[in-house]
Amino acid sequence: MRKKFSRFLYRHRGVEGILFILPFLGLWAVFLAWPVVYGVYISLFDWNPIRGSEFVGLANYIELFHEARFWNAFANTFKFAGMVIPLVMGLGLLFALMVWGWGRVRRGTTFVQASLFFPYLLTVSIVAIVWRWLLDRDFGLIQHTLNSLFPSAPVFLTEPAWALPAVAVATAWWLAGYRMVVLQAGLEEIPRELFESAEIDGALPRHKFIHIVLPLLKPSLLFALVLTIISAFRTFGQVLMMTEGGPGRASEVLALYLYWVGFDYFQVGKAAAAGVVLLFLILIMTLLGVRLLGLKSELQ
């Protein structure tokens, strides 16, 4: 019987392939893929499970696009991404170069690498709590230190123009370490001989950086960039717990807007529409980021 079954499987290897994938596919289809499709469907309705839902076509989207609050969240998302992506990538690259370049000659860099990486292992609520406390307007360690060094320093979490930058700094503290680790692994893969022969040819450090490090680091940079773009556009927890979108709505980003519209105001159709907008935004931005680095083939 067993033998017969395995012979059957061998003859129909396609069936077998699908059997193996079924457990994953089931979970994925029900809990990840279907909700995306269902979300598009919901976004076309004035959704109300109690009173009954009504098909409204694109009305939710039109309402969304006529709402100043939506555009505010939209702009804030881009502002935040514009700050946090360079910050995270820049710090990550800088740290990677530092630990890689100096760590090779000297020992004891494990401590350095570990301290720079550790924040990444913390959950977003811890990051938000700690930074909210560090930036507390009266008793915060960083806020106080800045105030005593520069009397005109802004009060980060309470001044509308400075709330988002503060969240971006906290986010960079949280995420830069993982980028460092990824980029450092990329750096380790560069053959040493390249640098040696470049040195013989009299290359300066910046030449080595531009002509050896950057091109060969591209795959790692791309991976880090895609990660960073996605986390920038879906930012939620830090903003919710550090500023609650405030002061006013100065730091309300799309994910937070979506959450409040859906789970506080119960405008489900509209929130689903915002989700669809966010979906396209993330897809477009990621593809753009990949294109920007000219690395379409790397994703395969």
């Binding site: 990840l32 909700p35 292992l121 709590i129 008793f139 939620f236």
Partner: protein, 274 residues
């Protein structure tokens, strides 16, 4: 001059590393100092005395241990669940041939880019229908189906030499046999890396957990901290004690396994990069 050149990199590196952990030191510091010291200007690094008052209140007034338990249950089941389903799927994607395989894989790739935020409303309704709100399975099941695991493992499985598999097949191994006798034994490093990655992901997940878990007894640590902060905006002693206690497990594990953990994340990173 030479002396400076030799030691300057050290000074810079350790300086940056020290700056980077100040927030963590300050968190620990706040968790154990008496309230008047917390609200002192200028901020006090050295407290007048150490106190366990905040920690005591955390454990007596809040179900902190229950949150810890919830987190452990969710993270462990997500890790093992996703390891099992992703291994099977990755095996099929890399080693078996069937029609539509590569097309389906491309679809998974695209979905890998999408975060919770885009489908949370419909997911919430789906879970309501199943009656899974406020349950472990409700919070854990969607996390088990993350395409990233399939992607990472497939990348590794593809590079296992074909000869090994052929030899096993000639000896009469079925596909399941190949998976268990050939693929799994040589894939331990990647399983470890993926396990570390998934555990950390589930342990820290905030957005979906906050939406799915709405009872104070059921929430995981990240959401519990949100409750703590929401209840007393300015009770910094208690809130920071909570944050400190919640980060303690990660800290201890990291202290003992930092090389392995960093290597795991590196592998997860370079594996997905392909």
């Amino acid at each position: 001059m030479r002396w400076i050149k030799r030691y300057l990199p050290y000074v810079i590196m350790y300086g940056v590393a020290f700056l980077w952990i100040i927030p963590i030191l300050w968190m620990a510091n706040t968790a154990f100092k008496p309230t008047p010291d917390i609200f002192s200007i200028p901020p006090k690094w050295i407290p007048s005395h150490l106190t366990l008052e905040h920690v005591r209140r955390l454990f007596s007034e809040w179900p902190f241990l229950r949150w810890l338990l919830n987190s452990l249950i969710v993270a462990t089941s997500v890790t093992f669940g996703s390891l099992i389903v992703s291994t099977l799927a990755a095996f099929s994607f890399s080693r078996l041939h069937w029609r539509g395989r590569d097309a389906l894989f491309m679809v998974l790739l695209v979905f890998m880019l999408l975060p919770w935020q885009v489908n949370v409303i419909p997911l919430f309704f789906t879970m309501t229908k199943f009656g899974f709100l406020n349950t472990y399975q409700g919070v854990a099941l969607p996390m088990m189906a993350m395409p990233i695991g399939v992607f990472l493992l497939r990348q590794f499985f593809i590079n296992i030499p074909r000869d090994l598999e052929d030899a096993a097949r000639i000896d009469g191994c079925s596909s399941l046999g190949v998976l268990f006798r050939v693929i799994i034994p040589v894939s331990k490093p990647v399983f470890a890396a993926f396990g570390v990655y998934m555990f950390n992901f589930a342990w820290n997940e905030f957005f979906w957990s906050m939406i799915c878990l709405r009872k104070a007894q059921m929430v995981t640590l990240p959401v519990g901290l949100k409750l703590l902060q929401g209840a007393f905006e300015i009770d910094y002693g208690l809130i920071l004690a909570g944050a400190f206690a919640a980060s303690l497990p990660s800290m201890l594990v990291f202290l003992f396994l930092k090389r392995q953990i960093i290597r795991g994340f590196t592998l997860a990173g370079s594996g997905t990069k392909g």
